[in-house]
């Protein structure tokens, strides 16, 4: 592994005048590697040499180590007259940890989304009429950002208001094959989500339910383009 490293000048000293046999260069490289790794700040050659056994050549060991780390995820870099191991610059992006926090959509957003899903294509005014309260710009923007709704065709009514429709990623998120699969009012009622009792003085209830279900089949054509 280390045989391809040719010895630079200045290496001859360790063979000549050391009292003890210096460890082989591979060992010296290991030593330098461990020291640079464990140090809390850059280490000078002098420091390294002082800690290494007699006869070692810290400079050469660092040169070998530097070469070994070329192109790796970390690099041996010179900092002033000392050496340190640092992350390769192109991998800086790994030094951030993305924390994803999941939050529940607000009630306003869920209701708006539900209306769009059940009534699409639907204008903002229609959403407001159904909800009985105004819909804030922020709520629509949030749903657009989530890519759960998108703009549909403009309505051929005064002001040519934009309409909203749900997107394929909406279907994906809610596990629906098409918006036709949304449970109808009858099913909501069967699931206990709606009061069973027909509301007093409202002959429209049953009619609405049929209507909502009848509406659904046509919606899919909105996903064109």
């Amino acid at each position: 592994m280390s045989d391809d490293l040719q010895e630079p000048d200045g290496a001859e000293e360790n063979s000549t005048e050391s009292l003890f046999e210096a460890p082989p260069m591979g060992e010296q490289e290991r030593m330098v590697e461990a020291m640079l790794f464990a140090a809390s700040e850059p280490v000078s050659l002098r420091d390294m040499a002082a800690r290494m056994p007699h006869g070692c050549d810290a400079a050469e060991a660092v040169a070998h180590l530097r070469k070994r780390y070329e192109g790796r995820g970390v690099r041996v870099v010179r900092v002033g007259d000392a050496w340190a191991i640092r992350t390769a610059p192109d991998l800086g992006f790994l030094m951030q940890n993305e924390v994803t926090e999941t939050r529940k959509l607000s009630r306003a957003a869920i209701e708006t989304l539900a209306i769009i899903a059940y009534h699409q294509p639907v204008t903002r005014a229609e959403i407001e009429e159904i909800r009985g309260v105004s819909v804030s710009r922020g709520t629509i923007d949030q749903l657009l950002d989530l890519e759960w709704i998108r703009l549909g065709r403009r309505k051929m009514t005064p002001g040519r208001p934009v309409t909203f429709v749900v997107t394929p990623s909406f279907l994906d998120h809610f596990g629906l094959e098409s918006s036709r699969d949304l449970p109808g009012l009858k099913e909501l009622r069967a699931a206990g989500l709606l009061e069973n009792r027909p509301p007093p003085g409202s002959p429209l209830a049953a009619e609405d339910a049929d209507q909502a279900e009848g509406e659904a089949p046509g919606q899919s054509e909105l996903f064109e383009d």
Binding site: T100, A114, T157, S202
Partner: protein, 264 residues
Amino acid sequence: MDEDSFTPDTMSVADRLAAEALIVDVDGFEGPLDLLLTLSRTQKVDLRKISILQLAQQYLAFVEKAKALRLELAADYLVMAAWLAYLKSRLLLPPDPSEEGPSAEDLAAHLAFQLERLQAMRDVAARLMGRDRLGQNFFARGEVESVARVKRITWDASLLDLMQGYARIRTRDEFRPFVMDRESVYTMEQALETMRGMIGFAGSWTDLTRYLPPGWDSDPKRRRSATAATFAATLQLVKEGRLELRQSETFAPIELRRREEDES
């Protein structure tokens, strides 16, 4: 104690000192089991083959000496002494078949097990502490790079949320004290549609009420809705530059006509 004569040469000076220290330094022991374990070492046998009888005698002798020296012995040492005295008597006497409970051999075996287990824990503790350790023999990275935390928020809703949300709206509709009677609501969109078709014919000033749709002028509720919607529609058409409006005075009839400038 005759174990000195049993293996005279294996007992070092340190062991002798330890054996003497035994007698005075009760605090040096981690409880009666520790003391028993220390005493058992003088038997120089496998802990599984240890003579509990002999061990009990050693322990009782130790307690006697301590008493003679008026050393305060912790209660658990005395409890152990009483128990060992009982065990010793049981071990010495032939088993009494009428007696209930575990046999003396079982009790002795359990004590041997406890001693062996404690010794085993001590051995592995020593092995554990003898390992190469982080910060002593091997080291972690010295120059730690901090990892920035980037917070990303994802929004979530389930199909049930959606269904409940929709059900909530529908339920609210149904129980709203003022139920909107859609039969009697004429929308601006409807009015516009009608108006668009008709303004071409509005060359001269005409009363707004003439544009109310047929069938909407008798019932006051319907009339009000239709008037409002039609008026709103005319405003829209004025804005688009297709109509002109006028009213001679407050509450006077509103008149409208087609706007002509574009064509001239």
